[in-house]
C-alpha cells in the first residue's frame, strides 16, 4: 500500500517546528508502524536528508519508550495498543496520516517526535515506592495477600509510563499515571505504611511539574495501551483527601540514645 505522511519536524528543543509531507510507498500490511517509519528513514538517509527522530526500544509494547500522536490519537487507532505494536493493516491504501509528538507542557519536544518525559520519573521520586532497603525482608509468604488484591495491584502496576494518558488529556494531566502507581502500592499490605503520605507527595509533585488538573474527561483511559482504569483516579483522590485530613506532621526530633 501507499500512504502519505505529514510528520512534525523540529530540529531541536528551542527551534521552530513544522509539518513535512512524505510518501511511504510499497508498504506491507504486515509491517508495524515503526517499521514503516524505518523504511521512510532509509529513503531519507539515501537522499542525504536527516531521518525522522522517534523514540522506541523494545518494539513489543512493554518498555513505554515509543509514543506518537497518529492522526490526533495517542498510539493510533487500535485500542489497547502501543505505537510499536500497531500494524499497517490498520490503515488503507491512499490514507494520509498525521504524525506528531506527545503535546503537553510537561513534555518539551527534544527533536521531531522525541519528547522529554523526565517529569514522570520525578513523580515517582516523590514517593512511588515502598521504603525498604535491601536485605532482611521477611519471607515472601509471611504475609498472605488475597488473590483479588494481588490481581488489582497487578492491573494498576501494568502501566508502562509511556505518557499517552497525558498526551490524550485535554488538560495535559498525569493523573492516570500517578493514580496507577498509588493504586498498585495501595492495594498491597507492603504499601500501607506510606499510603497517604505517598498520595500527598506524588500529587504535589504532579502539580509542580506543570501537568494540568483532572476534570474526568476519561480520554486517558481510552488512550492507555494497558487499559488502566480511571477508577484508580478515584482511589488516588480518596487517599489524597484522607491524607490531607489525617496524615500526621512528621516528627522533627531525631534519636539521641547513648
Amino acid at each position: 500500500m501507499n500512504v502519505t505522511l505529514r510528520v512534525w519536524r523540529q530540529p531541536g528543543p528551542s527551534a521552530a517546528g513544522k509539518f513535512v509531507e512524505y510518501q511511504a510507498r510499497d508498504i506491507s500490511a504486515e509491517m508495524s508502524f515503526l517499521e514503516m517509519l524505518d523504511v521512510v528513514n532509509e529513503e531519507l538517509t539515501a537522499k542525504g536528508e536527516q531521518p525522522i527522530a522517534f523514540d522506541h526500544d523494545c518494539r513489543e509494547g512493554i518498555c513505554g519508550m515509543c509514543g506518537l500522536m497518529i492522526s490526533g490519537v495517542a498510539h493510533g487507532p487500535m485500542k489497547a495498543t502501543t505505537t510499536c505494536q500497531l500494524h499497517m493493516r490498520s490503515f488503507t491504501d491512499g490514507d494520509t496520516i498525521t504524525v506528531e509528538p506527545w503535546r503537553a507542557s510537561a513534555f518539551p519536544v527534544l527533536r521531531d517526535l522525541c519528547v522529554d518525559r523526565s517529569s514522570l520519573d520525578r513523580i515517582v521520586q516523590a514517593g512511588g515506592y515502598v521504603s525498604v532497603s535491601t536485605g532482611n525482608a521477611p519471607d515472601g509468604n509471611a504475609i498472605p495477600i488475597a488473590k483479588p488484591d494481588a490481581d488489582a495491584a497487578m492491573d494498576a502496576a501494568a502501566c508502562i509510563g509511556c505518557g499517552a494518558c497525558v498526551a490524550a488529556c485535554p488538560n495535559g494531566s498525569a493523573s492516570l499515571f500517578t493514580a496507577a502507581k498509588i493504586s498498585h502500592l495501595g492495594y498491597l499490605p507492603q504499601g500501607q505504611p506510606e499510603r497517604y503520605r505517598r498520595a500527598l507527595k506524588m500529587v504535589a509533585q504532579m502539580d509542580l511539574e506543570h501537568f494540568g488538573g483532572c476534570t474526568l474527561f476519561g480520554e486517558c483511559q481510552a488512550a492507555c495501551p494497558k487499559e488502566i482504569s480511571i477508577d484508580t483516579i478515584a482511589r488516588m483522590n480518596r487517599d489524597y483527601l484522607y491524607g490531607s485530613v489525617f496524615e500526621r506532621e512528621e516528627s522533627r526530633s531525631a534519636g539521641g540514645a547513648g
Binding site: 532509509e42 538517509t45 526500544d57 512493554i62 505494536q85 535491601t134 498472605p144 497487578m154 508502562i160 502500592l185
Partner: protein, 637 residues
C-alpha cells in the same frame, strides 16, 4: 594474562558465607567518600545502584533510554527462579544448583552457580517487600509455574510481565535513592569508552544523546551492567538499542571476554514475516507448560493444522525427550525445531515454523484458565500475526535471545581490569553454555542486590586510590579518541546506511555462527566480516552532526562495535572443537544428533584478550573443576 577466579576455599555450601565474613569492610562514614559509576539501569544495574546508595556509597547511574525504567529487562515475560520449595515438590538450593550446572552443559563455574542458588530465595523476599505483585493462589500464597530444564515448579511470575514488575521494583528503589541524593541519574547518556589509570578502572567517557556533548565521569570503581549483545545478529528478541559498546570498549582496554560464542537461540519466537522486519518477538517459554509442539509427520504436508489427524502429527519433543517433553531446555528444543524444518516438515511461509498448540489445554482447563495464564501473550501474538491462537495453533521458530558469553569476571564479579565490575547479562558467569529459562532475572538481581554491594567494599577497602583529575593525560587521551571516532563516523559520507550494514552482518552471523556451526562456515564468516567492516568505514552514510540528537550516529557507533565483536565470536566458535549447550558444531554430534562435548580438551572458559588493532586476540583459559556435580553426558530423555 593471569585469570584468578578468587573462589574462596572450603565446602561449596559455606564458601559465600565464609567469604562475606572475610571480606574487608568500608566504614559507614567513609562510604560517602567513594564514588561508584554504574552503567546500566536494568535489573542488574538498578538493583546495584540502589543498594550501594542505601549502604552509603555515592553512586552515578547511566542509561541510554529516556528513563531507567525502560531498560531491556522490562521485556522479560515468563518468570524468575528461586529454590523456595513452596510447592513441596522436592526443590532445594542443591537442586537448583545442580539443574543450572547441568543446564549449562558443564561449562559454568560451580562456586558462582551455588551462590546464585543460595541467594535466589532472598530475591523473592526482597521483591515482595518492595510491592512486586507476584501471582498468588487463592489462599494468598505465592504461585509457581515450571520452566524448561527443571522437573520442579520453582518459577515465580507476575502474569506475562515478570521482568516489568521486577524492574519497576528495582527502578522504584533507585528513584527512592535518587530522591535522597545518593544516586545521580544520567538518562539518555551512552558510555563510549572506559578510562583506566594506573591499571585501574577510574571512569567513563559518555555522549549526551540529546546535546551530543562528550563528557568524562571519574570515580573510584566502575560497574558495567549493560546487558547482552544478541543484536549482533540484527534480528533478535532484544530491544533495538541493546548493544555491546560498553563491554566491547572495556575489552579493548584490557578486560578479557569470556566465551563470546555462547549464544542462546530461543525455541519459541514468532517467525519472521518479511525483509523489512526490525526485530523478532519472543513467546514466553512458560507457554510450553500447556502448549504442545508438533509438525506434520509427512514432509510437504500443506493441510491446515486442524485437518491433520492426530496420528499424522509428530509431537517431536514428547517423542524424543519423554521425561522433559515440551519442557526440554532451550538449546535442545531449538535444534529439534530446526531439524524438523530442515527435513521439510516446517509449517507456514517458507516452511520456517512449527506449531505450538493449546487445543488440548483449552479442552482440559477451559479457555478462561488459559486466558488467565497467558492472556497478554496470546494478545501479543494476535497483534503481530493477525491469527487467533485460541483457535489456530501458534506458529513459532527459534530466534536469538540471550548471550551467555560476556566479560570474564572472578568470584567477586570483577573483570581482569581491577576496579571494573560486570553484572547481569553483560558478564559470562553463571550459565555456562546454555541458560535455563527464568534464570537471567535471578542472576541480574542476585548480582545487583546481594553480591556487588559486598564485593565492591572489599575492593575499595583494599586500595589506595589517588584522586584523578580530568586533566590527567590518560583521561584526556581517551576523551580525544572518543571525539575522533565520532568525527570519523560522521566524516565518511558514503552511500550505505547503518541499518544495511547491520542487516548484512546479522545474516552472516545467523548463517555461520547461529544454531549450527562448522569449521568451513566459520572460516567463511571470518573472511566476510573484516571485508564488511572495511566497507563500513569507507562507505557508511551518517547524516547530521555530532552536536545534536542523532539516532543514526548512535546506531553507527554500536554497529561498528558489533562488526568487531562478530569476528571474535566466530573465532571463539571455531576454536571450540566440541558441541556444548547452545554451541553446536555439526562435526561434533552423537549418532542421534545430540551435542557431543569433549571434556578432556574443553572443560575451560575461553577468556579472550585484546592484542591490539589488527592482531589476533590471545586465548587464555580458566579451567573448570567439577567437584560437586559429576561431569556427565547431559540427557533429558
Amino acid at each position: 594474562m593471569e585469570l584468578k577466579s578468587n573462589i574462596p576455599g572450603g565446602p561449596i555450601a559455606e564458601k559465600w558465607d565464609k567469604h562475606k565474613f572475610e571480606m574487608k569492610l568500608v566504614n559507614p562514614a567513609n562510604k560517602r567518600k567513594y564514588h561508584v559509576l554504574v552503567v546500566g539501569s536494568g535489573l542488574a544495574g538498578a538493583s546495584a545502584a540502589a543498594t550501594m546508595s542505601e549502604l552509603g556509597y555515592n553512586v552515578s547511574c547511566y542509561c541510554f533510554q529516556d528513563s531507567p525504567r525502560r531498560a531491556h529487562s522490562i521485556a522479560a515475560q515468563g518468570g524468575i527462579n528461586a529454590a523456595k520449595n513452596y510447592q513441596n515438590d522436592g526443590d532445594s538450593i542443591q537442586r537448583l544448583f545442580y539443574d543450572t550446572v547441568k543446564g549449562g552443559d558443564f561449562r559454568a563455574r560451580e562456586a558462582n552457580v551455588y551462590r546464585l542458588a543460595q541467594i535466589s530465595v532472598n530475591i523473592i523476599d526482597q521483591c515482595v517487600a518492595q510491592g512486586v505483585p507476584f501471582a498468588r493462589e487463592y489462599g494468598g500464597l505465592l504461585a509457581n509455574r515450571s520452566f524448561g530444564g527443571a522437573q520442579v515448579s520453582r518459577t515465580f511470575y507476575a502474569r506475562g510481565q515478570t521482568g516489568q514488575q521486577l524492574l519497576l521494583g528495582a527502578y522504584q528503589a533507585l528513584e527512592k535513592e535518587i530522591a535522597k541524593g545518593g544516586v545521580t541519574m544520567y538518562p539518555r547518556t551512552e558510555m563510549l569508552d572506559l578510562i583506566v589509570v594506573d591499571g585501574r578502572a577510574r571512569g567513563i567517557v559518555t555522549r549526551n544523546l540529546v546535546t551530543g556533548k562528550i563528557e568524562t565521569h571519574l570515580g573510584d570503581a566502575v560497574v558495567l551492567a549493560t546487558g547482552g549483545y544478541g543484536n549482533v545478529f540484527y534480528l533478535s528478541t532484544n530491544a533495538k538499542g541493546s548493544n555491546t559498546t560498553a563491554i566491547w570498549r572495556a575489552y579493548k582496554r584490557g578486560a578479557a571476554f569470556g566465551n563470546p560464542c555462547y549464544t542462546q537461540i530461543h525455541p519459541t519466537c514468532i517467525p519472521q514475516s518479511g525483509d523489512y522486519q526490525s526485530k523478532l518477538t519472543l513467546m514466553s517459554e512458560s507457554l510450553r507448560n500447556d502448549g504442545r509442539v508438533w509438525v506434520p509427520k509427512q514432509a510437504g504436508d500443506t493441510r491446515a493444522p486442524h485437518e491433520i489427524p492426530e496420528a499424522e502429527r509428530d509431537y517431536y519433543l514428547e517423542r524424543k525427550y519423554p521425561s522433559y517433553g515440551n519442557l526440554s531446555p532451550r538449546d535442545i528444543a531449538s535444534r529439534a525445531a530446526k531439524e524438523a524444518c530442515d527435513s521439510g516438515r516446517g509449517v507456514g511461509p517458507g516452511g520456517l515454523g512449527v506449531y505450538l498448540d493449546f487445543r488440548d489445554a483449552i479442552n482440559r482447563l477451559g479457555r478462561d484458565k488459559i486466558e488467565e495464564r497467558y492472556g497478554n501473550l496470546f494478545q501479543m501474538y494476535e497483534r503481530i500475526t493477525d491469527e487467533d491462537p485460541y483457535k489456530v495453533p501458534m506458529r513459532i521458530y527459534p530466534a536469538v535471545h540471550y548471550t551467555m558469553g560476556g566479560l570474564w569476571v572472578d568470584y567477586n564479579l570483577m573483570s581482569t581490569i581491577p576496579g571494573l565490575h560486570v553484572l547481569g547479562e553483560a558478564n559470562f558467569s553463571d550459565h555456562g553454555a546454555n541458560r535455563l529459562g527464568a534464570s537471567a532475572l535471578m542472576q541480574g538481581l542476585a548480582d545487583g542486590y546481594f553480591v556487588i554491594p559486598y564485593t565492591i567494599g572489599n575492593y575499595l577497602a583494599g586500595q589506595k586510590l589517588e584522586p584523578v583529575s580530568k586533566d590527567h593525560p590518560e583521561v584526556r587521551a581517551v576523551e580525544r579518541e572518543v571525539e575522533e571516532r565520532t568525527r570519523r563516523l560522521l566524516g565518511i559520507k558514503g552511500k550505505r546506511s547503518v541499518q544495511s550494514f547491520h542487516r548484512e552482518l546479522g545474516k552472516v552471523m545467523w548463517e555461520y555462527c547461529g544454531m549450527a556451526r562448522n569449521a568451513q562456515g566459520l572460516q567463511e564468516a571470518l573472511a566476510r566480516i573484516p571485508a564488511l567492516r572495511e566497507e563500513f568505514w569507507e562507505n557508511l552514510n551518517v547524516p547530521g552532526s555530532g552536536e545534536e540528537l542523532n539516532q543514526s550516529l548512535e546506531q553507527a557507533g554500536r554497529v561498528a562495535d558489533f562488526l568487531e565483536l562478530g569476528e571474535l565470536m566466530c573465532r571463539d566458535a571455531l576454536h571450540r572443537e566440541e558441541s556444548c549447550g547452545g554451541h553446536f558444531r555439526t562435526e561434533h554430534q552423537t549418532e542421534d544428533g545430540e551435542a557431543k562435548r569433549d571434556d578432556e580438551h574443553f572443560t575451560y572458559v575461553a577468556a579472550w584478550e585484546y592484542a591490539g588493532e589488527g592482531k589476533t586476540p590471545i586465548l587464555n583459559k580458566e579451567s573448570l573443576e567439577f567437584e560437586n556435580v559429576h561431569l556427565a553426558t547431559r540427557s533429558y530423555k
